[in-house]
Symmetry: C2
Subunit: 372 residues, 2 copies
């Protein structure tokens, strides 16, 4: 049996699917990493085998994202949301510092909620009253005159909202820009120099859970006080190449394999091309379904990564049947987040254009069989 | 080629060796976890597959350690040393709270150093002036009259010092007892009820790096304030079964496989029996080598896990030759920690009695060829 036959078409929102070739490579050398007689899980984080892994992973990340020299890369633990406390702890001088949050969905809301213990929260925009279906025009955003930094989430995994690349252009000049790119990281080229701090949990497009990647402007590192806990002490992590304590070695290794796969496939330009093809095909089909399927998100802000939609404007019985029927076609993990219900299809890098076509074929036949 | 032939005899201090059978099991199902068509790395942390993994892992941990009902188990990220900040942040009401530290090596020293930002540090005993070669008699320990808790490290990985199980019996009655068991966790039965909080990084005897296990008395959870960052907010982790954010799913899975292996091999009694056999054989050989090899640690406190020794009282040239020659016998990772030099052999659960015998055979022939 080839691996393709038994593998699910996994549209999960994360931990998400991983390219077969990455898993096959990890499987092949799981007991004997590059001939060293040990698993990559068993090597010392300070030994020559892991040293090579972490350096290659860093340099490949620099390569695919064209990260300028004045930025450092940190590998942290705790998940991206742990940085909702960690970032203000590093960047704010006191809890009286004001931080601007653009609240466009569950994750930027979470950042503003956790942040309140370490800074004064100013909501530049709060889309919750609009059920996170759209984003107010940047001309309406209400920045604080003296915020320590601006925080926003580039892609809201739960609500299916993605911000345009031009977003930071609307910020007051000279402000520190912090961006949570967890769920669209490595899905497109990014102009890193528009940001001072980019962070992302790996378990969407960049590997598996248990590792958080931080890209930080080196000049920001001077802000970290020695009292910031080591788990997210940016200065300490930078000074020690993220090895001040034992990092999640296997998790970094998988990110390294994913980066090699991205390079081999054509880099972030190709990832973006595919993500546009996959998501446009799906949105186009949904919009053309005469309301059988409906995506409520403002077209300008629809996510290429997480497509949220309802059947017959929220027919839960039919949605349940949809999930069940889909599984017979090996299509899995398409339930919406428990906080919003409905359906959600995540189109991360490891999902192919063909797999998305198979989904649309299934959605077509399901519609034909179930529409009144 | 069978896996035994190419596998190194890996005496590394951590990330350490993992039983072959655990690696083979992980390898076998790496692309298709229990027939679900997905890797365990790709399943949702809230889905039925992972739900089963985390529950089994918890209940097997309860089983092997006979953990009483009034304790909870938390799976955290960040490494054990992240809790050097996290524990006082959870347990202390204010930075004026006094915490008693017994400083017996690098890790308890680290805990007292990081702790100073969150509590007043009282060193009950500080063995650094004695180069951490021994521990003063408990009758000499100077506890604070009103410490919020007592912190000690059961096994010092760098310095090779292990505390006797009777240690907490010497503490003032009613005091909260916190124990760092990172490097001897799951190497012997433990009377959990002597402790209020046990914590351990998994990468020694309990799995791979990227996961930290906390066993906490439930009554302690009321101390956690909402401002404690989620990454080590014990109350939040407990209330959410460690799933308030995406946990390191693969890392928890490996701990689960290791626990099943421990149970199959005969539980912690058998792990202890083996560790005593392995370490006594090695210490006996070292002590009988007429000073060619020498372990400077007070015999009462010698670690079963990490055997530190020198050749000819610190002949670095010969020690280097020893490491090189050992590698020709497939014996690896025996250099001492960079802060102390010399040699260190770690005898974690996955190291067999036979592998230790092979090491002693090599040490014998090396001695015979190199003694004057």
């Amino acid at each position: 049996m080839s691996h393709q036959e038994f593998r699910a078409i996994n549209f999960g929102a994360g931990p998400g699917c991983i390219p077969d070739s990455v898993l096959l490579e990890a499987q092949k050398e799981l007991l004997n990493f590059q001939g060293c007689g040990k698993s990559i899980m068993e090597v010392s984080h300070r030994g020559k085998e892991f040293e090579k892994v972490i350096q290659e992973t860093k340099s490949n990340l620099i390569k695919v994202l064209s990260i300028p020299d004045d930025y450092d890369i940190l590998f942290l633990q705790g998940g991206a949301s742990s940085l909702f406390s960690g970032i203000p702890m590093n960047l704010c001088e006191s809890p009286n510092d004001v931080v601007d949050f653009i609240v466009t969905g569950a994750w930027s809301k979470g950042a503003s909620t956790d942040g309140k213990y370490f800074c004064k929260v100013n909501k530049v925009a709060d889309m919750e009253p609009e059920k996170f279906l759209t984003v107010t025009d940047p001309s309406q955003w209400k920045f604080s005159p003296d915020s320590t930094y601006i925080h926003y989430c580039d892609n809201e995994t739960v609500h299916g909202v993605e911000m345009p690349p031009s977003t930071p252009d609307h910020f007051p000049e000279g402000r520190i820009v912090v961006c949570d790119m967890s769920s669209n990281f490595l899905s497109k080229p990014v102009n890193v120099s528009k940001y001072d701090l980019i962070f992302a949990g790996a378990q969407k497009n960049a590997g598996i859970s248990g590792i958080t990647i931080v890209i930080i402007k080196k000049s920001l590192l001077t802000k970290t006080k020695p009292s910031v806990p080591s788990v997210f002490n940016f200065l300490k992590k930078s000074q020690n190449n993220s090895l001040d304590n034992t990092p999640p070695t296997f998790n970094i290794y998988i990110t390294g394999l994913v980066l090699k796969w991205i390079i081999k496939e054509g880099g972030l330009e190709e990832m973006e091309r595919r993500s546009i093809e996959k998501s446009s095909n799906l949105y186009k089909f949904i919009d053309g379904s005469n309301g059988f399927y409906r995506c409520g998100i403002d077209a300008k802000y629809r996510s290429r990564m997480n497509v949220v939609f309802r059947i017959q404007d929220g027919n839960e019985q039919l949605e349940e049947k949809f999930v069940k029927e889909a599984s017979k076609h090996n299509i899995t993990d398409i339930k919406g987040h428990r906080s919003v219900g409905g359906l959600r299809v995540s189109l991360y890098n490891a999902i192919t254009v063909d797999q998305t076509k198979k989904l649309i074929e299934f959605m077509t036949s399901f519609m034909n069989e179930n529409k009144q």
